[in-house]
Symmetry: C2
Amino acid sequence: MTDPLLQDAAETEEAQAATKQAVFNAAERLFALHGFQNVSVRDITAEAGVNLASVNYHFGSKDALLFEIFRRRTSELNRERARMLHEATSRHGGKPPVRDILECYFAPPMRWAAPDNDRRISMQFIIRARSEGTAEMREVLKTDVSHLERFAGALMAARPDLPKEDVYWRLHFVLGMVHNNRFAEFDRLHHLSGGLTREGDVEALLRRMLDFAEAGFLA
Amino acid sequence: MTDPLLQDAAETEEAQAATKQAVFNAAERLFALHGFQNVSVRDITAEAGVNLASVNYHFGSKDALLFEIFRRRTSELNRERARMLHEATSRHGGKPPVRDILECYFAPPMRWAAPDNDRRISMQFIIRARSEGTAEMREVLKTDVSHLERFAGALMAARPDLPKEDVYWRLHFVLGMVHNNRFAEFDRLHHLSGGLTREGDVEALLRRMLDFAEAGFLA
DNA sequence: CTTGGGGTCGAACGTTCGTTTGAACGCGAA
DNA sequence: TTCGCGTTCAAACGAACGTTCGACCCCAAG
């Protein structure tokens, strides 16, 4: 609990076994780097320096471990987005402009993914979960859209003249912009542009994204 | 060769064995529907109605089969894009406007993915290959950017005032919009909007995408 | 000291996987 | 007819996987 290595000390369950934490962290890291199917329980326990049976003892199964990481990280990310949106709403007297709304959605994942951020690996995990997750995770992604509803509502309030249908579609396009920010895509872009594009300056990239998305939304 | 079942009669290799074609089609279908890792060689050969050893005999390995499907479909798609861009270029006297350039990139995958199109399953395969492909396929995706260079060049010509760096980044955003058009995302959006958004009308969706992307590019 | 239970350990289980093997088959050429 | 070759077949191989098992360890409660 007072161990500085435990990044997630503030847990709902209080006294996490050190083994469980080690498995959690190792699994998140390996899954993020190599994908779910390409990482075995043996890889995880070896990386964590624990016994092979630890995964099934503490989490029930490999899939359940995966799901628990996914659930924790996505809820943290969406909570941060909701917090920013709430703040922007009160800052603008209940009706923030399009650009500010989009920033609340863009900024958290972008900043998490910054090269020097501890959460970078968590962000990479979430990105991978979107396309390689289990059926259970995909069901959650499809069904649990409560956090998106907040943003859709805010956007409709910011552009009451636009038909709701258009707001949803443009939100869809915006989601695509965010989800495409994988490391592999940055590499490809870097290769294409001959090294002209650099992902180092997160805030500058965030500004670029907002310029593009805001213009698209106000079209 | 005159068999109407052979969709890809015009091949570089002339006399394809019926078994090889059956394996190719079954593999593409199953991979597109369930993902690479979730489909076994036994599943493929059972679906194709051929012997288990056929995959290794005709393609060398499961990975090689996967790569051959990937190579064929992506080259077909990019050839179609290049054809449209070439036509648009000559139609506009060498310098097509942004919207027309983007349409050349958007239209082929969108139309392939239309519910009544035979290529729908191929498009789904390509989409899956982007995130679940083997290391070899990812290397091709990253390295082979020649087809993107054509579009980057056309966009720079259409907006010579914009710094090249910005063109690349905005192209990156546009790619995100296209790549996000997976069936799962449409389902999610449909769920979020309460059935308001329908993907049935491809041309209408294409117009929406162009409205958004064009505005973003002209910002 | 004794007891009990949460945690860890090495070892194994049963399944599934991609691939290989060697025999059999079909058919045009010699 | 006989040969040769491309193709198909049933069967098996060896490896890797997620999971389970029973013994063992530690430490606090009785």
